[in-house]
Amino acid sequence: MKKIILLLLPFFVFGCGNSPNVIDDLGDTSFELLDQDSTVVTFPDDFQGEFVVMGFIYTNCPDICSLITQNLVRIQKEMDYPDDVHFIAATFDPERDTPSTLKKYGNAFNVNENFTFLTGDSAEVFEMMDSVRVRSQISFTDTTDDGQELYFINHSDKIMVLDKQSRVIFEYGGSQPMIPNIVIEDLNKVR
């Protein structure tokens, strides 16, 4: 009887395929970026050994991107600021989103210390964006009467989760209101 139960145990343990499919393996990639304190960050290497919840934003976008940032903050808060999960918001507007701009933007959202904003050299940033299939395109530019530049960017709406080996295992529509609950549910299955 014991032998039969032992033989059938794997059906219960692995029967549901709890290991998620790998969408992208970033283990072999490496990008030199800057965080909001102008510290050099190597992505994803510096985050290996942690789960990463990552969204993509630009600070001149107060609506969709604020929803994405808000969702990242909400996930972190509702998970009670977990030590093994790092939160990242990377900009696809690196020329304007300098480290200090990102820091000010983060302050408005009361981000926790385990939350990193990423920017850097444009070529490096866009290479990183390509590697995770995040698209962005300037959709409108104008100069106001007082000479100020006005611009908007069309962009992907994405939050993704990386496992401890820097593999993308989940992707979501980043600005959707139900996303925090789904991300938490998914993370709790694999942590």
Binding site: L8, F11, I64, S66
Partner: protein, 150 residues
């Protein structure tokens, strides 16, 4: 052998039940998110960009048109609409005019029509209040005082 068949059946049943319980009900998750109308301005830093969310009911007997928006805390204020492009990207575009039918409620909300407050002239912190002026073709000037909330 009979015992083996019974245990096998129970095992398969167990796997089916446990897999079933893991299926995600996305629709169910969305239900609890609420569709409350917001009444706030998002916190932001001086020089940055924020947005105002609220609703307005046109109580006139005629349709009205929102023709201008302004706020003294922003260098530039515009009505914007978030939209999805044909190739699946998200974008924003200015709405120069917004027509509101008689008795209709217009909702400025995240992910939809909203008031953009650009080039902020001061930090907007929780607890602050922001006045947004709306100029309608028929109703004239309407002011909204909105709290700053994350």
């Amino acid at each position: 052998m009979k015992l083996f068949r019974h245990v096998t059946f129970l095992a398969v049943l167990g796997v089916m039940i446990s897999c079933e319980s893991e299926q995600r009900n996305v629709e169910g998750k969305a239900e609890g998110t609420g569709e409350e109308i917001e009444n706030r301005v998002r916190p932001a830093s001086s020089g940055g960009t924020s947005a105002a969310y609220f609703s307005y009911i046109n109580s006139l007997d005629n349709a009205d048109t929102l023709i201008a928006v302004n706020s003294e805390i922003a260098g530039l204020t515009q009505v914007h609409e978030a939209y999805e492009t044909e190739d699946g990207m998200m974008g924003m575009r200015e709405q120069k005019q917004v027509i509101v039918a008689s008795g209709e409620e217009i909702i400025f909300e995240q992910g939809g029509l909203h008031i953009m407050l650009m080039r902020l002239e001061q930090d907007l912190k929780e607890g602050d209040s922001v006045r947004v002026d709306l100029e309608f073709a028929r109703a004239g000037m309407v002011s909204k005082m909105l709290p700053v909330n994350p």
